[in-house]
């Protein structure tokens, strides 16, 4: 473990923020007040946080339809996110994007994406910018197991290798694409596929923050030092349905309950850090309280915020008209 206490505190705070954010969005969605399609990241926190802990605002990530976790891990404002999800004028995208399109380019967050496989090509571009402009930055595409079958993902991997880009492709394999098991839809696997492009790859247990953090460190260091692209195959699980409203009948009846009990990344993190005596219960509890308060505030703020108005409909299509 190369992480200091501050790192650990930050990691825990972020993972916890994602978890509470998602559990709360789940509840708020049930009230009927959140519009549209919402895909929750709960259960997968160690991936986004384990990886993004190595990044700064110079680095870019591109996310998926399941983007809240990546946004939070990359430093997007949590209140602005919640307002966005509620479709409010003070949302990160002024209420025009919603859950599937949260972005903050000033933090290097290139957007959640409603198109499966939409992100990998974009990340080649951000990596090219970093390389051409000499920013020292890297760019990371998060894709699901489902997205790992999309042509754009393969093309981007080959391009990143041929152009020798500081790009990393993280396949977050949560076992399902909608109701379809990755054991059926993905022939071969992400590590073998990377080998097909001569790209170094690692498989990692995505419930284990420390394991993720470590393989990400290697890949990011390689990218930063001109060593080209990498692939990470992160095995993990989502706690909620594909989207809010999914009855999850394709899963085993006790599947998520068991996962929450045995594989929860937050529980594992806390246990391991406590055991090693690196942080104390009080520190965790304080973060828990902070996070609860923050999310409460985010929700009440979002609910109270004004919705966008007619004057907003026609703006932001072009920079110049």
């Amino acid at each position: 473990m190369q992480l200091n206490r501050d790192d650990l505190l930050k990691a825990y705070r972020q993972m916890k923020t994602i978890r509470v954010f998602e559990e709360r969005v789940h509840d708020e969605f049930a009230t009927g007040d959140i519009p549209g399609f919402v895909h929750l990241y709960a259960g997968e926190e160690a991936s986004a946080v384990g990886i993004c802990l190595h990044l700064n605002d110079n680095d870019y990530i591109a996310s998926t339809h399941r983007g809240h976790g990546h946004c939070i891990a990359k430093g997007c404002d949590v209140k602005g996110m919640m307002s966005e999800i509620f479709g409010r004028a003070d949302g990160l995208c002024g209420g025009k994007g919603g859950s599937m399109h949260i972005a903050d380019l000033s933090r290097g967050m290139m957007g959640a994406n409603g198109i499966v496989g939409g992100g990998p090509p974009l990340v080649c571009g951000a990596a090219l910018s970093a390389k051409t402009l000499g920013t020292g930055g890297v760019a990371i595409a998060f894709v699901g197991d489902g997205a790992s079958n999309q042509g754009t993902t393969f093309e981007a991997m080959n391009l990143a290798k041929v152009w020798d880009l500081p790009a990393i492709f993280v396949v977050e394999d949560n076992g399902y694409a909608e109701a379809t098991s990755s054991s059926w839809s993905v022939s071969g696997d992400a590590v073998k596929r990377a080998a097909g492009f001569d790209i170094p790859a690692q498989r990692v247990d995505g419930h284990d923050f420390f394991a993720v953090n470590e393989v990400a460190r290697e890949a990011i260091e390689r990218a930063r030092s001109g060593g080209g692209p990498s692939v990470l195959h992160v095995k993990l699980n989502r706690y909620f349905g594909h989207f809010e409203g999914d009855a999850m009948t394709y899963r085993a009846p006790d599947e998520t309950a068991k996962l929450r009990q045995e594989k929860d990344c937050l529980t594992l993190f806390r246990g391991r850090v406590s055991e090693a005596g690196l942080l104390e219960d009080a520190q965790f509890d304080e973060i828990d309280r902070d996070v609860d308060a923050l999310i409460d505030e985010a929700v009440s703020g979002a609910r109270a915020a004004p919705v966008p108005g007619a004057q907003d409909l026609l703006t932001d299509v072009y920079v110049s008209y």
Binding site: P35, G36, K96, G98, H101, N149, T180, A252
Partner: protein, 334 residues
């Protein structure tokens, strides 16, 4: 006749054609659902349950779930159509056409012409379109003008559950590539739908309402709005003819021209983005071929030239509204 939802009407059309012709297969992401998963079979029946029950009846050999790989499976449907099957592929949202358009417009649509009339490609692509579900910019588009632009494709937009069943059966029996647009906000809309199979021919518009003052042409969900507005205006003595072209390609030009000849006034209601859309297409048809009959400017009711916004109030402002249709009609009826 029983009242049925558009969801059920489409499901019945698929089931009846699959029973009738063993060459009909369907494919798409989670159209059955649960492949390789530990839980239930047929767990989804498509994201909105439209294809539910077909896998249990017809088996996995004819109800083919796919990986997320639109180019490959839409192209596979095209290739299968050219080699003996009659596939119905589901492109979940038409917004996803950008990852597989080549297989539709350069392959399936052009086979027959490029190959000198020797190919027959009985392909149907079912797809969801339209705004209203707060699904934001990448899941709310119409895009049928793009498909209408392409020679070799037929483009169908049903305006009710009844229309959906008859037009989809026609599409499956048709020997050309057809793209079939289902408005995502209409799956629960009900209509009288016969249990048995029936077809509605392509290129024959439906006149849903007759009136002497103004001709209104509308597409898909907009037909409902146009009829509502026409009912309301009738009380004020403004009588509208409402035309549902049913298919934008082929287009029943004659019916549109005849009705405009009769009323001399035309409003077109199109939920698609305003540039190079069906409203402009029909405006142009009429300005070229029924100009002499026109007594007033043509009025187009469309959304603005913006992506579809997420927030509910913005999206409601975006989508053409009855009040806009009413205003357009009143303006030229006067």
């Amino acid at each position: 006749m029983a009242k049925k939802s558009m969801r059920q009407a489409i499901n019945e059309a698929l089931a009846s054609e699959m029973r009738r012709d063993p060459r009909v297969v369907i494919m798409g992401e989670d159209i059955s659902g649960g492949m390789g998963a530990p839980g239930e079979d047929d767990a989804w029946g498509g994201p909105l349950g439209v294809t539910k029950g077909l896998m249990p009846e017809f088996g996995r050999g004819r109800v083919l779930d796919t990986p997320i790989t639109e180019s490959a499976f839409v192209g596979a449907a095209a290739g299968a159509a050219a080699s003996g099957l009659r596939p119905v592929a589901e492109l979940m949202f038409v917004d996803f056409m950008g990852v597989c358009f080549d297989q539709i417009f350069n392959q399936a649509a052009k086979f027959r012409y490029m190959f000198g009339g020797k190919a027959v490609t009985p392909l149907v692509i079912r797809t969801m379109f339209g705004a209203g579900l707060r699904a934001a910019s990448q899941h709310s588009q119409c895009l049928y003008p793009i498909f209408t632009h392409i020679p070799g494709l037929k483009v169908v937009i049903p305006s009710s559950a009844y229309e959906a069943k008859g037009l989809l059966i026609q599409a499956i029996r048709d020997d050309d590539p057809v793209i079939f647009f289902e408005h995502k906000a209409m799956y629960d809309d009900e209509a009288e739908v016969p249990d048995e199979a029936y077809t509605i021919p392509f290129g024959e518009a439906n006149i849903t309402r007759e009136g002497d003052n103004v001709t209104v042409v509308a597409f898909g969900r907009m037909v409902q709005l146009a009829n509502q507005v026409a009912d309301k205006l009738a009380k004020d003595g403004i009588e509208c003819t409402v035309i549902d072209p049913r298919t934008t390609s082929p287009l029943d030009e004659d019916t549109i021209l005849e009705e405009v000849e009769a009323t001399g006034r035309l409003v077109i209601v199109d939920e698609a983005s305003p540039r190079c859309n069906m409203a402009t297409d029909i405006s142009a048809l009429v300005a070229q071929r029924a100009f002499g009959a026109l007594k007033a400017p043509i009025r187009m009711v469309t959304p603005p030239h913006t992506p579809v916004p997420f927030a509910g109030d913005l999206e409601d402002l975006y989508i053409p509204k009855p009040e806009q249709i009413e205003a357009a009609i009143r303006e030229i009826a006067a």
